[in-house]
Symmetry: C2
Subunit: 335 residues, 2 copies
């Protein structure tokens, strides 16, 4: 009898425990950022989202004003050993080279054809843009999109031997979805070409073509065989980098964002414009410190250099995300 | 007895009629465009919307691709006797004139201060833009928005003696709402200044700041007393008119619209870009032919001239909307 009661008690206790666990699982909110380790960065992001979405809370922001802006290169996908769009432009210059004998002696084309990265880097941003402009010009916007699509389907990253579109950061894709689920409108604000990004951004990030700010070439409206087209001109119309980012944001969005995510000093003014305000704001810098799973660079890279941002992040209340320590995974597993 | 039966029959018949009327009212869809007279224009608009939203239909368009673009001046609100933003710029030039003695002799400022519309019109679009650039420059985007807001709250239209924001076209505001209710994203694509429109467009049309394409001045990012600002420069950055409209649309939206609404030859390329395509498209021109309720002009106005569009609308399958015959009301009743 004692044993029977004891057995009953045990069964009852086990049942009770099971019930408590089940209720606990129900009460426990699902982790919206499972690829992020518990830590300061994740805690700050979640606390910010909770603060601005809490009805009646002192930091509440109406859904229409929940604008979050994301740099692309180095923030949403990798940017080493060179900006992926630069890899595209170099492939394009090499493909077009036979038709341009003058490129054999003219910089930066000579360096591009020869793969001379040192000379290319020395030419700075202006040189790279010249290269992009010349190699992208003459195509209509539709033709350009087709060329980019083909390239993305075939080109592979030199280190990871995977298509470039598989090198988006899983924790950031998660973060974009988390923000949207909380009523944010997510925008990409990149120094990269707007029409290059539009080819893959909706599928990769869930960001549609009309929520994109980027650098662009001049376009010319024309009729070809009676059909209207927009032809890319060999002239840079807008450079969406550094102090150009707040300008690009204003032109496209017309509102000041409440959250900004970047990784380099090219994003400095975007974070400043977003966060230096009297209300609740979030500024985040992704720090590339993971040599094993991605790349480790900050003050020493020709692409995506983080210098001033690293020095001033703490004083400005910006959150530094360590890819090494804050992310459980960098890329989604290969398909 | 016969009378009793007859009375019963009458009552029954009356009840039946009532029931039929009630069922009929339920079956009858609510008119989504009550300010529009029944006619070709309304029928074409409604047929187009039904065609592109019918699931499984041959003309079905996914909601994300249902982009509709609207010119503003003359399409969503009046533009006579001069563009409302020009009236604003003239008031601003007059207010600033005491600080600019050089304007007494320099055109187009002299004409602006003196209200010499003939000289102003003769200077063409470039002259007007110069005026706008000079009178808007130096202000930050926030300061500019405040000045426009003040002006809209106090200025009155010379003919109707109502605030300019009451001179939006009720049938078009209805149409915007009808399209949005059918999954369209509605955009304004105007030759007017983007930051001028943003001040009132959300309240007037339900179109948020980030769904606006317009002409713009160059902006400069700066810190004033430690606070980041965007300062309007005395330099036109983009003219969103004529062949500039498809360019502006592509830069901002990155998709080709499926419906375009305009009223002048400044909208010609926008309608061409939108409608010359193999799938179902809608091109609409609002024709100002109502001298009594608004203004009657087409080939003879310096602002909003409709010439080529009027000649080619029929061949291009564009719908002409007669303000006089297609609209039950032009403006919403005064408050």
């Amino acid at each position: 009898m004692v044993r029977a009661v004891s057995s009953l008690r045990r069964r009852f206790a086990a049942g009770l425990l099971w019930c408590m666990a089940a209720v606990g699982a129900l009460a426990q909110p699902v982790d919206p950022l499972p690829s992020w380790h518990t830590g300061t960065a994740k805690a700050r992001i979640v606390a910010f989202v909770q603060a601005v979405t809490e009805p009646g809370g002192k930091d509440f922001v109406a859904p229409g004003d929940r604008i979050a802006v994301f740099d692309n290169d180095g923030t949403l996908w990798s940017e080493q050993p060179m900006y992926f769009q630069l890899a595209f432009a170099l492939d394009r210059v090499r493909a077009l080279a036979p038709k341009h004998p003058e490129w054999k002696t003219k910089q930066p084309f000579k360096a591009a054809v020869e793969g001379d990265m040192k000379t290319l880097a020395a030419g700075g941003e202006r040189g790279l843009l010249e290269l992009v402009a010349a190699s992208h010009a003459g195509l209509t916007t539709d033709e350009f999109a087709a060329v980019v699509k083909d390239w993305l389907a075939t080109a592979r990253h030199p280190k990871f031997n995977r298509p470039y579109t598989e090198l988006t950061f899983a924790p950031m894709v998660e973060l974009l979805a988390y923000l949207r689920a909380n009523g944010f409108q997510t925008w990409i604000v990149s120094g990269g070409g707007i029409d290059f990004m539009r080819v893959f951004a909706e599928q990769a990030y869930g960001v549609p073509p009309q929520q994109m700010v980027g650098s662009s070439l001049a376009l010319k409206y024309a009729l070809r065989n009676g059909q209207p087209v927009l032809v890319q001109q060999p002239k840079v119309a807008f450079i969406d980098d550094k102090a150009g980012k707040p300008v690009g944001i204003h032109k496209a969005i017309g509102k000041r964002p409440i959250a900004a995510f970047g990784n380099s000093d090219g994003d400095f003014q975007m974070l400043e414009w977003t966060t230096r305000a009297p209300s609740a704001r979030l500024g985040v810098l992704v720090h590339h410190d993971d040599a094993e799973r991605e790349f480790a660079y900050d003050r020493k890279s020709p692409f995506g250099r983080l210098d001033r941002g690293l020095d001033e992040a703490s004083a400005r209340g910006w959150t530094l995300v360590s890819m090494k320590n804050d992310w459980k995974q960098v890329y989604a597993p290969g398909r």
